[in-house]
């Protein structure tokens, strides 16, 4: 097979792609090329393939079935359907991440409905929709359920605007549904009746996650649903499901690979406890376990037999103490991902270090983040203990009330493979509690020792030095979150000038002003987005940025929380769709 020169040298192809393709008979018919390219999975690979030549661009776009859009305003539905005619699966992310923490007002946008209208016309065979931080109304859910007969998979994470009535529409009309995954959304939880809406002859469900809904569901309906859907492999129920009900479900679906339990507290008779234990023993395939709300030492042992193959244990809604965690972890030697609450304290984390040598990801959430009194959580000692025992650690999210530079330096020496390092010292601007120095050296150590670092969140008392370190060493950094840090514009400048792969930068409450903002002019076009709030930006600075970079969307909101009324929230992002057409009055597009 003759290799086409344009494939060997992409530059040549771009010089005269049409002439190269037209003047030479193609080595592959288009269908073959499409077939080959359809084997490409990741978005990055597909993007690269589409840049090789016109032939490849077209083959790729005809063969692409799944599309991921990290910022729903970076492209329009019309542009999307024009380029990709055969999409079956769409993943969309909407609001800036800080909207999770109430920094973005209601009715900001990211409404899915306008997309659905276009999809109904151009993607009638749409099968999958995965949304994060989008606004979704019941009307949209009903539209989705009625207009897309092949629809199979719905995942809503951190979305808002709908109620359980919308879920009823999905359950009623989506005959081929395989996945319903509802996570942590701000929704109107009216009732659990939606579960009753699955028809009696409906059997295709493989994934059901309603763990974050509060209202009670009819258990008989649930049991019948689980019984007739014999492909069910992921089941995450909510807190209203009791232990003995859980036991009955497990008996019906022992082949689950992921389980989210309901409430783990109940007065069980010895017989019921024995049954529960037996049911858990029958779950040989369990890889992920979550839920366990109100779990107590009393019934956790029933779980032990199911833990042998666990790779992901999510205890972030179970306020376990250190002893309980230690005992549980003794059965979880294969754990790769662990999420806990800081109720486990440093002692619990010591047990992590001792029992989980394969651990790659640890998230420690605060049980009392808004309590101003001093309550024991985790400290630098717990993190240290984990780093000594879990050398493969690459992802950490750690909320604590005290940290030292020395501890972080040791931690990253133990674990140089960090790709995600998110440290949140909960008191804004808090220094090293032993030396009283800024935490600059801690994050300096992180970026120096961890060449693979992709994501970093900093906290504590930080000067510009931290950002100099980041700009100098963090050459693979893609996402950076900064709060209450830095001394001057220089800090932000260092990052913008020094991090070639930076895609997302979110900053709040830092002394960075217009000079810093404008130092990243060309940079922003290679990034997905920039967020700045409660910094020293002025309207003039934003206007200047907008004027100099017409292909960026520069959106400004007045900062309601600021004392001086001069503070703004700025959201800057690249877009091929031009300025938003749906911006509410409080969003000013410059």
């Amino acid at each position: 097979m003759r290799a086409l020169p344009e494939l060997m040298d992409p530059k040549r192809a771009r010089e005269s792609p049409e002439s190269a393709v037209l003047s030479r008979p193609s080595a592959f018919p288009d269908e073959v090329l499409e077939r080959i390219l359809s084997l490409l999975d990741t978005h990055k690979d597909r993007s690269s393939a589409s840049l090789v030549s016109k032939a490849w661009y077209h083959a790729e776009r005809w063969s692409r079935a799944r599309v991921f859009i990290g910022n729903c305003y970076s492209v329009s539905a019309e542009i999307l359907v024009r380029r990709f005619p055969n999409i079956r699966s769409v993943t969309l992310k909407g609001k800036p991440r800080f909207s999770d923490f109430n920094l973005v007002p209601q009715n900001w946008g990211a409404d899915i409905h306008s997309w659905l209208l276009v999809f109904a016309e151009h993607y009638p065979s749409l099968e999958e929709l995965r949304l994060k931080r989008m606004t979704v109304t019941d009307q949209s859910l009903e539209f989705l359920a009625l207009k897309f007969p092949n629809f199979k998979s719905l995942s809503l994470l951190s979305c808002d605007g709908f109620s359980t009535d919308g879920l009823s529409a999905i359950a009623t009309h989506c005959r081929n549904l395989t996945e319903l995954d509802i996570q942590e959304n701000g929704i109107d939880d009216i009732s659990g009746n939606w579960l009753n809406c699955f028809p009696d002859n409906f059997t295709s469900l493989e994934v059901l996650n309603f763990a974050s809904l509060n209202s009670e569901v009819n258990f008989d309906s649930l049991e019948r649903l689980v019984t007739r859907c014999n492909l069910l492999r992921i089941l995450k129920v909510n807190k209203t499901i009791t232990l003995d009900q859980l036991q009955r479900l497990l008996v019906r679906a022992p082949w689950l690979t992921e389980l989210g339990t309901g409430s783990f507290i109940q007065e069980l008779t010895p017989r019921q406890y024995a049954d529960l234990e037996t049911s858990f023993k029958g779950c040989r395939n369990l890889q992920t376990l979550s839920g366990l709300s109100e779990a107590t030492a009393l019934y956790l042992p029933a779980l032990y037999p199911a833990c042998a193959n666990l790779t992901f244990l999510n205890l972030s809604y179970a306020a376990l103490q250190s002893e309980e965690l230690a005992r549980l972890l003794a059965y979880c030697a294969h754990l790769r991902r662990l999420w806990v609450l800081d109720t486990v304290e440093d002692k619990g984390l010591e047990a992590v270090g001792q029992n989980c040598p394969l651990l790659e990801e640890l998230r420690v959430f605060p049980s009392d983040p808004f309590d101003e009194e001093i309550v024991h959580g985790v400290t630098e000692l717990g993190f240290l203990a984990v780093s000594y025992g879990c050398r493969k650690l690459r992802y950490v999210l750690y909320f604590c009330r005290q940290m030292t530079n020395a501890a972080v330096a040791t931690i990253v020496r133990n674990c140089p493979d960090f790709t995600h390092f998110r440290l949140c010292i909960m008191n804004p601007g808090q220094p090293d509690y032993l030396t009283r120095e800024p935490m600059d050296e801690a994050f300096g150590a992180v970026v120096k020792n961890c060449p693979k670092l992709q994501r970093l969140a900093v906290s504590g008392l930080l000067t510009d030095l931290t950002f100099e370190y980041i700009g100098t060493f963090a050459k693979n950094l893609e996402t950076l979150s900064v709060a209450f840090a830095g001394s001057s514009d220089l800090g932000m400048q260092c990052v913008l000038e020094g991090c070639p792969k930076l895609r997302k930068l979110e900053i709040r409450d830092c002394p960075f002003g217009n000079k810093a903002l404008l130092s990243g002019l060309e940079k922003y076009e290679s990034m997905r987005s920039l967020w700045m709030s409660a910094c020293k930006i002025t309207m003039n600075g934003c206007r200047l940025l907008a004027r100099k970079m017409p292909r960026l969307n520069v959106e400004v909101m007045k900062d309601e929380e600021s004392n001086d009324g001069q503070s703004y929230k700025v959201y800057v992002y690249r877009s091929v769709a031009g300025p938003r057409r749906d911006a509410p009055p409080f969003v000013l597009t410059l």
Partner: protein, 228 residues
């Protein structure tokens, strides 16, 4: 292969060495670059105490300088200062409530409130508060045993009869007390267990000498139990 943290240091040890030098462990809220604010260990004047959200209604806040007539109230007020005296003086309320900080999704805010009955436990002389879940225990015996485990320098001596905790380090006795729904400080153990769980808002292990002014059934108007 692994040596946790510093060899020979348990978290409890660190906690207590911290107790010797409160300045070092003091956590303060401040703006970036700010110095640590406030002093610890000083008695607070009236204006400072009204911002505290420590307990329920503060009936004893009749004024810092006023010598309270009611010995119970005087003791309660002094006790409160001692508990809160180990915490740095807080900045005004508006500054402590920073929007969206710490960056925890609203979903996670409800984790603790939804679960059982967590109450804070303060120990005279310790700089940290702890939390226990009263629902985890079915008797005073279990609770006191758990407290002993938590503040591991104590041993329990005749806890059923005397309901006191001994601290072998300084030989002092600690009396478990609690604040009930009405804001009164009571001795632990006087009401039936379930009633105690129901009405207990926070616990405090008080130095034996301090508990002198606190009689069981401290306030007749709040006494609802008919037997102990």
């Amino acid at each position: 292969m692994s040596a946790p943290g510093r060899a020979g240091h348990s978290p409890e040890m660190v906690e207590y060495s911290g107790a010797m030098n409160l300045d070092e462990t003091e956590l303060t809220l401040g703006l970036p670059g700010g110095e640590s604010r406030g002093k610890s260990g000083t008695k607070r004047g009236f204006p400072d105490t009204i911002d505290l959200s420590i307990g329920a209604k503060r009936r004893s806040l009749t004024g810092g300088g006023e010598a309270a007539k009611d010995p119970d109230i005087a003791v309660a007020e002094r006790r409160e200062d001692e508990v809160s005296g180990t915490i740095s003086s807080k900045p005004p309320a508006t500054k402590t409530q920073v929007v969206g900080w710490p960056p925890v999704r609203s979903f996670r805010k409800n984790v603790m409130t939804k679960s059982c009955k967590f109450v804070k436990v303060a120990v005279d002389g310790a700089p940290y508060l702890r939390k226990v879940d009263l629902e985890m225990y079915s008797s005073y015996q279990q609770l006191l045993a758990a407290l002993e485990g938590m503040f591991s320098c104590f041993t329990i001596r005749k806890y059923l009869k005397e309901r006191k905790l001994m601290d072998p380090a300084n030989g002092g006795e600690y009396v478990p007390t609690y604040e009930d729904k009405d804001g009164d400080w009571m001795l632990v153990g006087d009401v039936p267990w379930k009633m105690f769980v129901e009405s207990c808002k926070r616990l405090r292990l008080m130095k034996g000498s301090e508990a002198v002014g606190l009689a069981p059934r401290a306030s007749a108007s709040t006494c609802t139990s008919s037997s102990s």
